[in-house]
């Protein structure tokens, strides 16, 4: 879109880390003989190194499907998904993955949960623990290392989940509505905390969210997806400074302008079904 052309940042010369090329994903029809269901189609976009991109779109438009294809848990029916120029054919240890559900293992302490991802590798237990402790510190939940998931709050659980995601040293972090189950205050605190952590680590990030101001507050660029079959129908360069400070960003007039634009792009005002 050209609305904000005047403040577009200089296109970065950085290499793109993630690339979708004409990707479509179809699921088999519910009954034998039924036509296949197209979840997403004609998806083409790129995410550059250290860029923070958000994807917004109506429920069921295929956002989670898109993330699954990056994580190597699902495969496109058409087109290619590539990471660092290499086609994704299966799970890849340079991708960190985090969902709305914290998915902490209830039988493990927070510390052991953070170690979980590292256990897929042949890593010495001492080094693994040290790595996990470092990550807990970075995500500010060191005090809860020895607690079990049922003994900590929802916000702390999401912090622990982020620590686990970052512990494997991913280059790309995929966040599927990580804040949507949290109350408004915890959400803001965590957004700030996540934004800081991710900006400091220079991670390439893809965030899926339903919250338009969250998308504006946290990202460099926003992709808008249409109702199913999902396609990208709009792309917005946020062009705001202070990516590590979402609260300050939201206070700017430009932020509210973008939110308003997104609101219209998604036809939220005249949509009846959720």
């Amino acid at each position: 879109m050209f609305l904000y052309e005047q403040d577009l940042p200089v296109p970065s010369a950085k290499s793109n880390v993630l690339r979708f090329l004409d990707v479509a994903r179809r699921f088999p029809g519910r009954t034998a003989g039924a036509p296949p269901f197209t979840a997403v189609r004609d998806l083409s976009f790129e995410v550059n190194e250290s860029e923070f991109v958000s994807i917004v779109g109506p429920s069921g438009c295929g956002k989670s499907t898109l993330l699954n294809m990056i994580a190597g848990l699902d495969h496109p029916s058409e087109g290619t998904v590539s990471l660092h120029g290499v086609e994704v054919v299966g799970p890849n240890s340079s991708v960190g993955f985090m969902l709305q559900k914290d998915l902490l293992l209830p039988w493990r302490t927070v510390l052991h949960n953070v170690e979980f991802g590292l256990e897929a590798r042949n890593m010495e237990p001492g080094a693994r623990r040290e790595r996990a402790l470092k990550e807990l510190k970075r995500c500010r939940i060191t005090g809860f290392a020895d607690r079990f998931p049922y003994q900590i709050s929802g916000g702390q659980r999401q912090r622990a989940a982020l620590a686990r995601t970052l512990a494997i040293d991913p280059d790309v972090v995929l966040l599927d509505e990580p804040f949507s189950a949290l109350d408004a205050q915890t959400k803001i605190v965590l957004q700030k905390s996540f934004a800081g952590t991710i900006a400091n680590a220079g991670l390439t990030t893809l965030l899926i969210t339903h919250d338009l101001s969250e998308a504006v507050a946290m990202s460099d660029r926003i992709l808008v997806m249409s109702d199913g079959p999902g396609r990208i129908v709009d792309e917005i360069e946020v062009g705001l400074p202070d990516r590590d400070n979402p609260i300050a960003r939201l206070a700017t007039p430009r932020a509210s302008e973008i939110v308003k634009h997104l609101f219209h792009a998604l036809h939220i005002d005249n949509r009846l079904d959720a």
């Binding site: 994580a71 799970p91 993955f97 039988w107 494997i168």
Partner: protein, 283 residues
């Protein structure tokens, strides 16, 4: 029992853990009341039947039961019978539990096989396994095998079904998370599926522990020359009601101890589940 200890160590739990039941039992008087009730029942047992003219061979008095117990100990080699039944119950329980768990995980990992076998599993689960005991005696003779096989069968199914259930309701996202970390299938099984199914496995074992004693007892009743079940049928032949009562009492003791052992292992393993506090009380 151990519930009081649990409530004190779990003070940080969310509120819902403190169910009405827990509040009800919060006083320290519960064990004392149980004990008082036991004493009351024993006294009533000793004095009420004679008062109503019930003969000893229908309901022996508590003192008769006690005397018979001592006589059995001295003359009938009670210890040998007790140990036989207890060890066979434990053996049958362990074997049935192992087989049930292995079969449950195997079928859980092989959904096609599960679909093919599920009608038969259901049929066998419903079939009264103890009724097979005479058949096994025909096949294997009067030795330890028939009762052991009956017990293994009886224990096998609840554990199989419970494990299978856990494998079916497994959180797919959890498995996907492990896959996204590039974890091997073996590691996913050991680190996610196995612990995830632990509450179900232990619930199955809890049921199995009580069923094991039933299986062994039926086996001993039908044939054999050893065990508390044998003493019951022997006592019946002698019209020795006290002997039957005593043997039943001892069988119950074995069952209770096995149940208690599984429950305490369960509480230790499932300490991370707040609901284990409530779950351990269901039969």
């Amino acid at each position: 029992m151990s519930n009081e200890a649990d409530t004190t160590t779990r003070t940080r739990l969310p509120l819902r853990v403190f169910s009405a039941r827990a509040v009800w039992q919060s006083g320290t008087s519960a064990p004392a009341a149980s004990l008082a009730l036991a004493v009351l029942v024993l006294i009533a047992w000793q004095y009420l039947p004679p008062m109503f003219g019930v003969p000893k061979y229908i309901i022996p008095r508590v003192s008769d039961l006690w005397n018979e117990m001592i006589r059995m100990w001295l003359q009938e080699n009670l210890l040998r019978h007790f140990i036989s039944t207890a060890s066979m119950s434990i053996l049958g329980f362990v074997l049935g539990g192992l087989l049930g768990a292995v079969a449950g995980y195997a079928l859980g990992l092989l959904p096609t096989w599960e679909k093919v076998l599920s009608p038969y599993i259901l049929a066998l689960q419903i079939a009264p396994k103890v009724a097979f005991a005479p058949l096994f005696i025909l096949w294997f003779g009067y030795n330890a095998w028939p009762k052991l096989i009956v017990t293994v069968l009886v224990v096998f199914f609840p554990i199989l079904v419970n494990v299978l259930q856990a494998m079916r309701i497994m959180d797919r996202d959890l498995i996907n998370l492990a896959r996204a970390y590039n974890m091997s299938k073996t590691k996913i099984f050991l680190k996610v599926m196995l612990p995830y199914s632990m509450p179900n496995l232990l619930a199955g074992l809890r049921i199995g522990a009580t069923l094991a004693v039933i299986g062994i007892t039926v086996g001993e009743l039908v044939g054999g020359e050893i065990g508390l079940g044998y003493l019951i049928s022997f006592g019946q032949g002698q019209a020795n009601t006290s002997m039957v009562f005593d043997a039943i009492g001892l069988l119950t003791v074995i069952g209770v101890i096995m149940y208690w052992a599984v429950t305490s292992v369960e509480n230790r393993i499932l300490h991370y589940l707040p609901r284990a506090v409530g779950a351990q009380r269901s039969p």
